[in-house]
Amino acid sequence: MARVQKAYVVQRLDWQYNDNWWDINELEPVKAFTDRERAERFRLELELEKRGDCTFSPAFYAGGLRRASSRSEAELRRELEAMCLPLPPLDQDHELDWSDGDWWRAVLALVADPSAPAYYARLTGKKLSPAMYERALAVSPDQLWALFDRLRFYELVEIELERP
């Protein structure tokens, strides 16, 4: 009689450029585990490494804000404001340009580097109060990425493992 237990498979989401944006083109199993915690640690390690290489904004990468985040634009705006982080610049239609790569790289630099206050002033043309600046610096890159939860580079899948 075969024993059935769980396996946890880390899969790479292979985003490929389609002449307009990146699309998930393939799911590639990378490694499987029988321990969920070890699998999640491995997935996170790969995810963080890949994020470091990602220089495009999540909305540009995924092909639109709705494909990059489960949050509405209003929710994202509120959350960024609560974090005291700058909003994206306006585009020619006076809409927030979430696909702006300069904005994304600057915000990432701001939350990753406590010695980068100039970014905020350059982006917004204004200075934060010391208290607000502290709040911005308290935001981790993870929290920022979490706003764009639909853009993932690795996923963890739980499936049945049948063993003799």
Binding site: D35, I159, R163
Partner: protein, 168 residues
């Protein structure tokens, strides 16, 4: 300890354009630590003598009857008359099913499930969200109801075996 697992999974389905990518079903079906056991399970799935667990959808992101830009045009791996399998663009249920579309609808009725309703599309043409129907109706049905539907979709080669290193 590092070993190898054999994963039975859905063949890759390339979605040409689908605004809600999250409607796609998971792709991994089951893992085995023996190539023979994985192959046996694959053969049983291909013969439609078993069906995969409910999260796995036979209709992926398939959401239309007539081609309509913006509604989940997709490709499926179809069996040819010579037994080979090729990835082809699919625009109707009839391409997936030797019973034809009406035959498939009759099969759905025969297992006691409701058929999906047509919705107005972005260009005014009605379309049928088969992918949502599978997830919300077929995905919640019994195995006895699901198996005849998988069997009806006989023109599709859905599954394959792949390997992955495993830390046991």
């Amino acid at each position: 300890v590092t070993d190898q697992l054999f994963l039975v999974r859905l063949r890759h389905e390339y979605v040409e354009r689908d605004d809600d990518r999250h409607l796609q079903s998971p792709s991994l079906v089951k893992a085995f630590d023996s190539a023979v056991a994985a192959r046996d399970y694959l053969d049983a799935l291909d013969a439609r003598s078993v069906c995969p667990p409910p999260p796995i959808s036979a209709l992926g992101a398939f959401a239309q009857l007539a081609p309509e830009v913006g509604h989940g045009a997709f490709y499926a791996w179809l069996r040819s008359a010579d037994g080979s399998v090729q990835e082809r663009f699919v625009s109707s249920i009839a391409q997936l099913c030797s019973l034809g579309e009406e035959g498939f609808r009759e099969r759905v009725r025969s297992v006691g499930l409701a058929l999906p309703q047509a919705l107005p599309g972005t260009k005014g043409q009605p379309y049928i969200p088969w992918h949502v129907w599978w997830r919300e109706v077929v995905g919640k049905s019994t195995e006895a109801q699901r198996l005849p539907l998988w069997a009806a979709l006989d023109r599709v080669s859905y599954f394959e075996v792949t390997t992955v290193p495993c830390e046991l």
